[in-house]
Symmetry: C2
Subunit: 201 residues, 2 copies
């Protein structure tokens, strides 16, 4: 390296490439949700792509003004901690404190591969998503509930059928989170859930 500044940026790029190689593992984290064609279960990387597409397409349904770029970034990174901490399916009992500790350690390790300022920025964005308090995070969370719901509706109940989820449980586990980001998506979701479970009777 000929100068301190080029040596510094070389190091930054090497850290960034290391992170980008590391997160390839998200393609091997398997979720419970089926693909719509039912050929296999979805992985967390392609799920993250699909959610980013949900944001891009459905942005005008957010109740509060959102910053699309921030929502896209949140959704792209929201599951990266699963590389170390695994996916925690919505219909299974989980030790929340233990899962939270695992995810926090994962965020420190994986975002810690990046140049410091960049890693801190993404960690803060992941915390914001998890906290679900800001308008951007609430809309991102509502999409993270809507997408797997759509896959269940398209696959004869998907994880609802597998886990013997009742109409009331499905309502409770999906629609309040959707409602907190978008009343129009919530109305659509509630209608679909009701139709699915009432149609089964």
């Amino acid at each position: 390296m000929s100068s301190p500044s080029s040596s510094l940026s070389k190091t930054d790029l090497e850290q960034q490439i290391q992170f980008l190689k590391e997160i390839d593992q998200l393609k091997s984290v398997i979720r419970k949700s089926p693909l719509i064609n039912q050929s296999r279960r979805e992985n967390s990387a392609e799920h993250s792509w699909h959610l980013a597409m949900y944001a891009l397409i459905l942005k005008d349904h957010a109740d509060a003004p959102i910053n699309l770029e921030r929502v896209l970034k949140m959704l792209l990174i929201h599951d990266i901690v699963e590389i170390d901490a695994g996916d925690h399916p919505i219909h299974e009992a989980v030790d929340h404190a233990a899962q939270e500790a695992k995810e926090l350690a994962a965020a420190e390790r994986i975002f810690g591969l990046l140049p410091t300022a960049q890693g801190e920025e993404l960690k803060a964005l992941w915390f914001e998503f998890e906290a679900a308090q800001s308008d951007d995070a609430r809309f991102a969370k509502s999409l993270d509930r809507l997408q797997p719901m759509m896959h269940n509706l398209e696959t004869n109940g998907g994880t609802w059928t597998e886990a013997n989820v009742t109409h009331e449980q499905a309502e409770q586990r999906y629609t309040p989170v959707i409602q907190s980001g978008s009343s129009s998506l919530w109305r659509y979701a509630k209608e679909q859930v009701d139709r699915f479970f009432l149609g089964k009777k």
Copy 2:
């Protein structure tokens, strides 16, 4: 529906949901590139997620000022036409005119599922990516070459080894496109390609 405007937005939402279900099929379009852990080949949906992460992480390496939100959108949608037109691997001969016609028809059909203005916006963004003339598109294209290159380097040559690609062919097929968006990523890429092929001698 109680009013024309709510009836209109219901129809928009239904079209948007139809599109979001349709593009689930991108998860079943299989590329030549291996995952880094070599467990299987990559699909085009998770590849699109990985490229969006490349953009988010490497944005400061673009030579020209870029609009990150537009680059993210471009990369998220850039392969959707493959649902109808298939992937055309870089190391295989292809009838370019026929492939282009298939992709154009695919863009019309798939983006045509959306409300008109939204479908037209995404189609224009896809054309811009394909044309590779704008700064945003050039940077997006450079990442679309860099990522599979990294996977080949991490997997003992990956598609280069499979297709008996020479050092010169690898340089020609990857580095000029990377260079057109980022000179620092190009320097890094050239160094890695040279090291890989010289190390094999």
